[in-house]
C-alpha cells in the first residue's frame, strides 16, 4: 500500500479508491456550464437544470394520457373527459406530485427565474393557470386516506394534510383544491358507501362475510356479535387481524387504499386519478406484487384504467360505466430526485408512522431490498421498471377480481390445485384417477363440501387476493383467530365487494329454487 502523502497516521480506508458516482466531470450535463448539484443515475445536473428535467419527465408521463384519445404525432391541446383527483398520502412522492400539478396546471409558475416567461406566451393554452386552466372539468380534488386506524400508535394527520393542500390556494385567483379526507375504515362504512354510490346494502348482505379458513372462500354469515354493534373501524380491525400473514395485512391495506381512492374519484366524475408513485416505489410495488403472485396485473402497477360500474338502482337503468385512468406521473423520477425537489422547494411531508413489520412481510422486504439497491445500484431500480414494461399478460382476462377490481385469470384455482394437492376429497383430485397411496386401503371420506358453487368467492378473486386470504405463514398459529384451519374464520367484506356479491350472487341465488328446496327438503311434508 502506498502512502505517498507521507502521513503514516492516515486511515487505510482513506486510501481506498471509491468508485466514482458520476461518469465524467462535476459539470452539469445539461447546461455544461455550472457545477453540478445532484447526481441522477451517474449523470450530473445543476440545480437550475434539475427543475425543468423533473417537470419534463412528469409531463411526458402524464400528458399523453390526458385526452380520451391519443393525439397521434401532432400534439393538440389537453382536454380531459372528466375531473381530476390526486391521491395524497402525505409521503414524499405525493407531496412532490401535488406541488408539480399545482405549479404546472393550476398556479403561477414556480418562481424559478428561468421559467418566468412561459413559452408561447401566457395566453397559450398550455400556460393557462389557476381557474383558467381548462384541462380538467370541475374543481380538482386532493383525496387523503387516513391510516391511523390501522397503524398502532399513529396520530390522526388529517388536519396536517389539509394545511399542506391549502397552501396551494390562491386568494386572488380564488383557486383551491377540494380536500377530501377519507378514513381507511370507510371501506367498511355503509354510510360512506351509501353517500358515494347511492346504494343501501340489504340486511342479508350486511350480515355476510367470508370464511378464509376454507380454500374455496365460501360466503358465510358473520357471528352475530360482530355485526350488531360493529363500527367500521372494528370491522376493519377484525378483517386485518384475521388475515393469515403480515404480508396479507399490508397488501390488504394497499388494496383498500387504492379502492377508496378510485371510488372517491368516480364519485367526482373524475377521468384521472394521479398517484405519487416514484420510480423507486414502482419498482418496490412490482417486485412485491410479483412475489405475491400478481404477475398477471404487472402492467397495472404503472398505468391502469378502471371501469366504474354505477351501483345504485336508479343508475342501473341509465347509469353508464365510466373510466378512471390511474396515472403515476412520477414513475420515471426516483425517490432521491423527489427528496431533492422537496428540499429545494421547501416542502414538508406529513410525517407518518409505517407498519413496522421488518422481515415478516413481503411488502417491507421488497421495500428494504429496493432501497438498498437504489443506494448501491441505481440503474437496477430503473431496470426493474423498464423490464416489467416490456411484458404483457399471456392470456386475455375475462373476469375482474371482486376485491381489487383488477383483471383476473379464470383458471388460477385449477392451477393451484394441480401443483399442490391439499385434499384427497377434492373433485379435481378424485376425477384424476390417481392410484391409492400405498399406506391406505381407500381414500378418506372427508367432510363433503356443502357449498353452493355460486357462493364460493375463490373463483371470483384474482390469484393474489386469493393468496392474501389463504396463504399461511410457516410460523406457528399465524392465522389470527383461525390458527386451527378446521375452525371457520369468518371476516367481513368491504362495501364494494358486498354490493357485487349482493347483485351477482345473492340475486342469482334467489332464482335457484332447486337449491333452496334441497336445503329445506327435510322439513317439507308430503302433500
Amino acid at each position: 500500500m502506498s502512502t505517498s502523502c507521507g502521513n503514516p497516521a492516515v486511515e487505510e480506508d482513506a486510501l481506498m479508491m471509491r468508485k466514482a458516482k458520476f461518469d465524467r466531470s462535476k459539470q452539469c450535463v445539461k447546461c455544461k456550464e455550472r457545477q453540478g448539484n445532484i447526481v441522477i443515475r451517474h449523470a450530473v445536473y445543476c440545480k437550475p437544470c434539475f427543475f425543468p428535467l423533473i417537470v419534463a419527465r412528469f409531463r411526458k408521463t402524464l400528458e399523453p394520457v390526458v385526452n380520451p384519445k391519443p393525439d397521434g404525432p401532432r400534439k393538440k391541446g389537453l382536454k380531459a373527459s372528466g375531473s381530476l383527483v390526486i391521491g395524497f398520502s402525505g409521503g414524499v412522492g405525493s407531496t412532490v406530485l401535488l406541488d408539480l400539478v399545482a405549479k404546472s396546471y393550476f398556479h403561477a409558475p414556480s418562481g424559478d427565474e428561468e421559467n418566468a416567461k412561459p413559452r408561447g406566451g401566457s395566453a397559450h393554452p398550455r400556460n393557462l393557470t389557476g381557474k383558467d386552466s381548462s384541462i380538467w372539468k370541475g374543481i380538482p380534488a386532493v383525496c387523503y386516506i387516513e391510516l391511523s386506524g390501522v397503524v398502532p400508535g399513529s396520530m390522526d394527520k388529517i388536519e396536517e394534510a389539509r394545511k399542506i393542500v391549502e397552501k396551494y390556494s390562491v386568494q386572488e385567483g380564488s383557486f383551491s383544491f377540494d380536500f377530501i379526507p377519507v378514513r381507511i375504515e370507510d371501506a367498511f362504512n355503509e354510510a360512506w358507501w351509501a353517500e358515494l354510490e347511492g346504494v343501501d346494502l340489504s340486511t342479508a348482505a350486511r350480515s355476510l362475510g367470508i370464511d378464509i379458513a376454507d380454500e374455496f372462500i365460501p360466503l358465510s354469515n358473520l357471528p352475530s356479535s360482530s355485526t350488531a354493534t360493529s363500527t367500521p373501524l372494528e370491522a376493519l380491525q377484525n378483517y386485518l387481524s384475521s388475515l393469515p400473514t403480515q404480508t396479507a395485512k399490508e397488501s390488504a391495506i394497499q388494496t383498500l387504499t387504492r379502492m377508496l381512492l378510485l371510488y372517491t374519484a368516480a364519485s367526482r366524475n373524475a377521468s384521472h386519478l394521479l398517484l405519487g408513485t416514484s420510480l423507486t416505489t414502482l419498482s418496490i410495488n412490482l417486485i412485491s406484487g410479483i412475489s405475491q403472485g400478481s404477475g398477471f396485473s404487472v402492467n397495472e402497477e404503472a398505468y391502469e384504467e378502471w371501469t366504474h360500474q354505477p351501483r345504485s338502482l336508479g343508475a342501473e337503468s341509465g347509469g353508464v360505466p365510466s373510466k378512471v385512468r390511474i396515472v403515476r406521473p412520477l414513475r420515471d423520477v426516483g425517490s432521491k430526485e423527489c427528496g431533492f425537489w422537496m428540499w429545494w422547494c421547501h416542502l414538508n411531508a406529513v410525517g407518518k408512522k409505517r407498519l413496522a413489520s421488518g422481515k415478516q412481510s413481503i411488502v417491507s422486504l421488497a421495500r428494504d431490498f429496493i432501497m438498498g439497491l437504489e443506494q448501491d445500484f441505481p440503474s437496477t431500480v430503473s431496470t426493474i421498471a423498464r423490464t416489467c414494461a416490456k411484458v404483457t399478460p399471456k392470456q386475455k382476462s375475462d373476469t375482474t377480481c371482486i376485491l381489487c377490481e383488477r383483471p383476473a385469470q379464470h383458471d388460477a384455482q385449477e392451477w393451484k390445485a394441480r401443483i399442490s394437492i391439499r385434499s384427497y376429497c377434492d373433485e379435481a383430485f378424485k376425477d384424476s384417477g390417481h392410484p391409492l397411496p400405498p399406506h391406505l386401503n381407500e381414500f378418506p371420506q372427508g367432510k363433503e363440501i356443502a357449498h353452493n358453487g355460486s357462493s364460493l368467492l375463490a373463483t371470483k378473486l384474482c390469484y393474489a387476493c386469493h393468496t392474501t386470504f389463504t396463504s399461511r405463514s410457516s410460523r406457528g398459529n399465524m392465522t389470527g383467530k383461525g390458527g386451527d384451519h378446521s375452525i371457520s374464520n369468518v371476516i367481513p367484506l368491504p362495501t364494494w365487494t358486498l354490493t357485487t356479491v349482493e347483485s351477482e350472487i345473492l340475486a342469482s341465488r334467489k332464482l335457484d329454487r332447486k337449491d333452496m328446496r334441497k336445503q329445506i327438503q327435510d322439513f317439507i311434508l308430503d302433500e
Binding site: 400473514t245 399471456k394 396463504s471
Partner: protein, 363 residues
C-alpha cells in the same frame, strides 16, 4: 396435547409440516403427494411419450438424486414406458466433482440405470481447475455454466436420447424470474418459466421439479435416506445469483407460498410482440455447429479466449471486441488453438453421433 392426525389421510399421525402448503401431514402422504405432484407436472405438460429415451442430468446432488429416484418410481407406477439413463458432466474440480461422481456411480447401481460421464477435459481440453488457475475465481461460474449446458446436449447426443431432464426446482425458477427482472434479461425472462425448452437442433430439455420446493426435495431425500452429495462447489457461487437467492429466502420465510407465487407471476406474462421483434434471431455457431446468437457461440468464444490468454473474451464487451480484432488481423487461425468438436444434430442419421456410446459398466 394429543398427536395431530395427518391433514390428508386423516388417519396416521402428522409427522411433518409441509413447506409448500403449511399442512401437517404424515410421512407416507408426503411421499405420495410429492410424487403425484411431479406426475401431474409431467402429464400436464405432456413431457414424454412411451418408448422415449430420457437422460437424467445427474450431478450427485440432492435434486438430481431425488429426480432419478422419483423418475424411476413414476415410470414404474404409471407405466410411462421410458428408457432412463444417467448423464453426468465432469467439470474437473478436484475434491468436489470427483467425489460427487462417486455418488452418481453408486446411484447407477442402486437405480440400475446406464450412466454416461462426459468431461470438460474430453470436450474442451480444459478442466475447471485449469480454467481457475488461468483466470482466477472471478467469472469462473460463467465458463462453467456455458460449458455445462453444451456438454449436457453433447452427452445426450452421444447417448442418442430424446430428452434430458434436469433437477431444477421451484426455488431455482423463482430465483431466475427475479434475477432476470433485475438485470433486464428480457429474452430469458420470457422463457425461464417454461417447463420444456427445445431449440430447432437441440434436444428437448425439461424440469419435472418445476413446482417442487427445495426444502421438500431435501425432506424427501432425508426421509427416504437417499444417497447424495451435499457439498457446495469449492469455487465461489455466482454473486449476483446469491443476491437474488438471499432475497428469495427472506420472502419464503415471510410467506412460504412466495416461491410458487413468483412462478405463477412469471407464467402469467410474456414478452410483448413488439419487443420480441427486436431480439436477436438464433443461428448456428460457424465453428462448432451449436445454437448461438452470434456467428461464434459463447462456448467457442470463451474457449478461444482461454486458448489465446484473453480470458475476458465472452465476459465483457471489451474483451469480445479485442478477440474480434485479433481474429480479423490474422489470415488463418493458429493451428494449435483447441476447438470444440462439431455438434451434429441429434438423430440426423443413426451413425452421426459424436462418438460411439461408451457407458460405464454396472459393476
Amino acid at each position: 396435547m394429543p398427536p395431530k392426525p395427518c391433514a390428508l389421510c386423516l388417519k396416521s399421525r402428522a409427522m411433518i409440516k409441509r413447506p409448500k402448503t403449511g399442512q401437517q401431514i404424515c410421512r407416507d402422504c408426503f411421499y405420495y403427494v410429492f410424487e403425484t405432484e411431479v406426475h401431474n407436472t409431467i402429464t400436464e405438460a405432456k413431457l414424454f411419450k412411451p418408448g422415449d429415451k430420457v437422460a437424467i442430468g445427474a450431478s450427485g446432488g440432492k435434486d438430481s438424486t431425488v429426480l432419478a429416484y422419483v423418475m424411476k418410481t413414476l415410470n414404474e407406477r404409471y407405466q410411462y414406458g421410458l428408457e432412463l439413463f444417467l448423464l453426468s458432466i465432469d467439470e474437473g474440480i478436484t475434491g468436489y466433482r470427483d467425489d460427487s461422481l462417486e455418488t452418481v456411480k453408486r446411484n447407477q447401481q442402486q437405480y440400475d440405470m446406464p450412466l454416461k460421464i462426459l468431461s470438460y477435459d474430453e470436450l474442451y481440453g480444459w478442466t475447471m481447475d485449469a480454467i481457475v488457475s488461468r483466470i482466477g475465481r472471478k467469472n469462473n461460474c460463467t465458463f462453467c455454466g456455458v460449458f455445462r449446458r453444451q456438454a449436457l446436449d453433447r452427452g445426450a447426443a452421444m447417448l442418442n436420447v430424446d430428452h434430458i431432464v434436469t433437477g431444477h426446482n421451484a426455488d431455482d425458477i423463482a430465483e431466475t424470474v427475479l434475477m432476470n427482472i433485475m438485470r433486464g434479461d428480457i429474452a430469458r425472462l420470457g422463457r425461464c418459466t417454461s417447463i420444456c425448452t427445445e431449440g430447432e437442433d437441440t434436444i428437448r430439455r425439461s424440469k419435472p421439479f418445476k413446482y417442487a420446493y427445495e426444502k421438500e426435495i431435501v425432506m424427501y431425500a432425508y426421509f427416504k435416506k437417499l444417497d447424495y452429495f451435499s457439498t457446495e462447489c469449492i469455487y465461489s457461487p455466482d454473486a449476483y445469483r446469491g443476491h437474488a437467492r438471499a432475497f428469495l429466502k427472506d420472502l419464503e420465510a415471510a410467506r412460504p407460498s412466495a416461491i410458487i407465487d413468483i412462478i405463477h407471476s412469471g407464467e402469467a406474462f410474456e414478452v410483448k410482440e413488439e419487443i420480441k421483434a427486436t431480439q436477436k434471431v438464433q443461428q448456428t455457431c460457424q465453428r462448432c455447429g451449436y445454437m448461438s446468437s452470434n456467428t461464434l457461440c459463447k462456448a467457442c468464444t470463451l474457449l478461444e479466449g482461454l486458448e489465446r490468454g484473453m480470458a475476458n473474451a465472452g465476459i465483457t464487451d471489451r474483451g469480445t471486441k479485442q478477440l474480434l480484432q485479433v481474429q480479423q488481423s490474422e489470415v488463418t487461425a493458429p493451428e494449435n488453438l483447441r476447438t470444440i468438436p462439431f455438434f451434429n444434430k441429434p438423430f440426423a442419421a443413426s451413425g452421426s453421433v459424436d462418438s460411439p456410446i461408451i457407458i460405464e459398466s454396472t459393476s
